[in-house]
Amino acid sequence: MPYLGGEETVKELRRALSNPHVQGDPLRHRSTVLRVIRVMSQGVDVAGLFSEMVKACATTDVVQKKLVYVFLCSYASLNPELSLLVINTLRKDCQDPNPMVRSLALRNMTNLRLPSLVEYVQQPLTAGLRDRAACVRRVAVLGWAKLHSLQPHADIDAAVVNELYSMLRDNDPVVMVNCLRALEEILKEEGGVAVNKAIAHHLLNRLKECDVWGQCEVLGVLQRYRPHSEEELFDILSLLDPYLLSPSVPVMAATLGLFLSLCCRGLPAVSLAALRRAQAPLLAACGSASPEMKFTALCHVQLLLRSLPGLMGEHYKRFFCGYAEPAYIKQRKMQVLVELVNDDNVGFVLDELKGYCTDVSPDTAQAAISAIGRIGRSYSDQCLEILTGLLGLKQEHITSVVVQTMRDLVWVCPQCSESVCEALEGCEDTLQDSQGRQALLWLLGVHGDRVSSAPYVLEAFVEQVRSEMAAGVKTELLTATMRVFLCRPAETQDTLGRLLHYCIEEEADMNVRDQALLYYRLLHCGIEETRSVLQGRRSDPSLGVLIGRPAEPVSQWARSFNTLEPLRQCNAGAESAPQAAPYHLALDPEPSLDLCDPLNPSQDRQETAAESVNLLLPGPSAGPLAPGPTAGPPAPGSGGGQLGLSLSPALSPQQFEHLWLGGPQCPHGEPGAREEEEEEECVCVQERMGVSPALQCSPPPQLQAALQRSHIQTMAFTPPHTLPWRVYLYTHTRWGGPAPRGPTLVLGELLYTGGAEDQEGEGEGGERGLRVTAKQRPRDDEAMKGFLQVLSGALHTSSTGSC
């Protein structure tokens, strides 16, 4: 920032500099020059003093010389002609008996950065390469690099390059390292220094003599070297091994980087071992006194954890946040903590995170709550308890984040929905920001049938819709009201009518209005159509896996190790605000359904719906070979193509009951055999499945999740450990492939009567089995067979998994 009165100052300084009395007195002269530099670094333009300063350069006072050089290097490019005057003084200094003066002159000669001076500089530089004093050689070597960058296209004399190569054997380690640096720059187009075996081994042997910075440089250059044999490779690695534990973090990091680049292709096991070995110094860096170093180390710990999940599990306490740490460090530590959670430490970690949730900084509190949400995917009960407790605080920002976290949690862990729905009651009063209200509306819409107050909360929202600013909240409100209307029409009809009326007639935002119109037209198509569009999946458990995530190979990230990239990525991540939000947007299938549906006839719509779900949610069961939400084995028989099961359109409990009771009845008392009874287009099948009784003890959410993964929706359960134990479920079958056939609806009941049935001695030798009753409409035998296979597969996996 230019100072006021800068011109006055410059005038006064010029007068002082040209005053012969000042010039005669070394001390006064020096202090005047000092003043020039001072105003220069304050931002005043002192370029006008150039000629006076050139004269001040011719002095025996080294301190003054240095000061003048600082000035000249800053302004030389503005005064190329006048700079020629300096070159004489500089060349004279290059002959000075004092090596310090020689190196100073040589360095500043090259720092002037004037292409016109190149011809005058070359000779002293050549002489400098052979100087007795190491400090002059250091400067001269780098001088050639500077010269090259001045004239990138002019060829540097091959003799100089050769000389630089030979100076790699210089006694002074800094000269050696500088040669490497200079050659890297000069030979950039050829790919840098040619690291052959001789050079590599020479560098490795002299690594010990270098200081920390030199070691980092050499280790970096060595990354390009490829050993010729495995034996040589292991020799190098064992030589480098002590550097992995170096107390200096940069050296440790550079060594680890070299290990990774040497081994990550051929020897993944060795690179993993190196990572384990470097764990201790990296952990120490995470506790460094400098917050910036801490942050750098934390970012790299995150990289390591990608390949070795749970690596530092027992050191989780080292990642607890300090009381006065800056927020960005706290957040990063929490992200690491989430990765380190295991069965042993989850209690402690959650306890610690819980303490951060009431942090005075809202950012930290939010990060802590989202971290708990992430852990909730694996340990849902404990986390939900904490989250529900936080709602009790009735703090605006906390409630908002908790509701958002719950939304994300419910999406991946359907078993949480019960307790989330209970917790939601009453929190609408505390929510102020749009993000939080959107999350609440989404939850109310999707789980409206379980939240008893849902229609009334929505009504309150609709009443205030005029004062609502955020368009996002309005669209979410529309969707939610539509969904609640579908499951509880009597209570919501009036509200929905008012909302649609407002949005169509008065709303200014085009998006909101269009969506309201769209829903309006959709309602005209009939309630079933609306239902099939709006009631999609409520969750996707396949995304919830936090623990047991497959480890990435080291080569995935080895390139970015020890670069700025891991630290920068964090920047980008932080800019997209609340941690959990972005993926949620991508996963929620609704928006795309809403946009593409109304124009298609119902059959197509179902296809597109199912497909768009699948595009967005490549779950584990929908492999690349089976497009559409298919599951299980390929259909039996030849005519079919692929059998797919799908959850949409969803059935309400009432509908299910109606269909179940209204459908064909299976003759009881003849289980085991397969009975069919035709009645119009429907069919009823009974079959026994030899599934271990442990299934019955497994908690409902687990079974529910397992079935959902196979695209079978469970409707109702009897509680575990009761007899007879029943499960009601349904799914839709759909044929993919070349021969499309109509979709069918399959309803099913699982019945387990335990020992009571054994005594009757029926079935396969008293085997404890599960009776499956399935009803299908319209009839499609092959689809039914396929369904039964999928079901038995899912039950088997879930019963073996639960024990």
Partner: protein
């Protein structure tokens, strides 16, 4: 590779600017300051990018120390270099503040010129640099009340400023040439940082002690120094614990220059200290402490009939009676807008700070074995049982001179060759709280 180095004051004034490669214009400084001030609290500031340009910076002494680079460089190296640069400048200028940087700009330019050439780090060793550096440091009065520039933006820095054990070692290493100085002194400091979490039931949930042995040397030449540690010093968990007061640490690392040939037998470190400050040894103890934690808190929180929250804090210092703590400060988070207080002694004071939403209780002196109590009455609007959850945790910040919580001691300090009378050796111990949290 470093393109530029610049030092900015917290208000954005340019203090030092040096361009090494001429790749980037001077406007980078302005770009940096705009970017760094635009960051929100949760965004990591260490690395920032603008087009092809990357800024790496640290904050020390209330200043921004920035490096710009165009190529992808090692963040570890850059951050470590900046940290080393700040120590170097502190060594040469005596202290690290906006004022000292402003006064010594010529010296700093000279240093930068020798330390970095063409963007490559040449040397940061004072042994080499002392041959080149000619400018002498200008020192100001050691401390002035108005010099508040070293108060940091982040909480960590305010802690940092307390690290400096005393002002004795805050003088430039070069002033020994001057007439007044000439004292050849050497300081060996054992500095420990505790980070502790104590649960609401009084159980120690987490303890980490990070310690350093720092040597600050003002001697122009010193051949070798032998530092003797406790003989019963042991490293690692596996070692057998004998009777008596064994001093144990989990991990330990030494500076490159330390010779360890007598360490295994006699626990002696041999160093040839160069001028300035160096960390000779770093160690870490986690999960257990040889003695009780220095402070215990017994909180009672109640609601009274008038809708107020009564917070009764009893704080006990478990140090040996002769030790005293220097100005500990207790802070309790709460959202209450008003406070009334009853403290056990008149020289203490407590206040409610709006910006941190916490009650700060400052205690000027806290002798070992003593017990202090305070009663805070907080007005909380809409008091409910949930409001109790919001109170806490309690954070303590303190500095314990002449105390190490690991028990590490320096038995002796010998210099060879034995210098004539004038050399003075100092050993100082200090423990301070990195983070001392007590959950309620």
């Amino acid at each position: 590779m470093i393109s530029q180095i610049f030092i900015l004051s917290s208000k954005g004034d340019h203090l030092i600017y040096k361009d090494f490669r001429g790749e980037v214009g001077k406007d980078a400084v302005t770009v940096f300051y705009e970017k760094v001030t635009a960051l929100t609290g949760d965004q990591p500031p260490v690395v920032m990018s603008h087009k092809e340009l990357h800024f790496v910076h640290i904050r020390q002494g209330g200043l921004y120390w920035v490096v710009t680079t165009t190529a992808d460089s090692s963040p570890f190296t850059l951050v470590e270099f900046l940290n080393r640069l700040t120590t170097l400048i502190k060594d040469y200028c005596g202290s690290l503040s906006e004022k000292s940087v402003r006064m010594n700009f010529a010296l700093i330019y000279e240093l930068l010129d020798e330390v970095v050439d063409n963007g490559y780090i040449q040397t940061t060793s004072t042994d080499i640099l002392k041959n080149f550096i000619q400018t002498e440091a200008v020192t100001s009065k050691p401390f002035s009340l108005f010099d508040l520039s070293n108060v940091g933006l982040f909480g960590a820095e305010t802690q940092q400023s307390k690290v400096a054990p005393s002002a004795a070692a805050a003088r430039p290493i070069m002033s020994s040439r001057g007439d007044q100085g000439g004292k050849s002194e050497i300081f060996v400091d054992v500095v420990e940082r505790m980070s502790v979490v104590i649960g609401s039931n009084g159980v120690l949930m987490k303890v980490d002690v990070e310690g350093q042995i720092r040597v600050k040397c003002y001697m122009p030449s010193c051949l070798e120094m032998r530092i003797g540690l406790n003989e019963e010093f042991s490293i690692g968990k596996s070692q057998l614990r004998g009777y008596g007061a064994a001093v144990r640490v989990d991990e330990c690392s030494f500076h490159q220059a330390v010779k360890l040939d007598e360490f295994d037998q006699h626990r002696i470190l041999k160093v040839c200290p160069s001028q300035g400050e160096h960390v000779v040894m770093q160690y870490l103890l986690s999960d257990e402490l040889p003695s009780a934690p220095p402070f215990r808190l017994f909180p009672t929180i109640e609601r009274d009939n008038g809708g107020r929250l009564l917070m009764y804090l009893k704080l006990r210092c478990d140090l040996p009676p002769k030790r005293a703590d220097r100005e500990p400060c207790v802070s309790v988070c709460s959202r209450s807008p008003s406070l009334s207080q009853e403290l056990s002694s008149p020289d203490q004071k407590a206040e409610l700070r709006a910006e941190t939403r916490a009650v700060h209780w400052d205690i000027p002196r806290f002798p070992g074995g003593a017990q202090l109590s305070a009663l805070f009455k907080l007005e909380v609007p809409g008091l409910s049982s949930a409001s109790m959850m919001e109170v806490g945790p309690v954070g303590l910040s303190f500095e314990l001179p002449k105390y190490t919580c690991t028990g590490l001691q320096i038995r002796f300090l010998r210099l060879t060759p034995v210098q004539a009378g004038s050399s003075q050796r100092w050993v100082r111990y200090v423990t301070h709280s990195d983070s001392y949290t007590i959950r309620i």
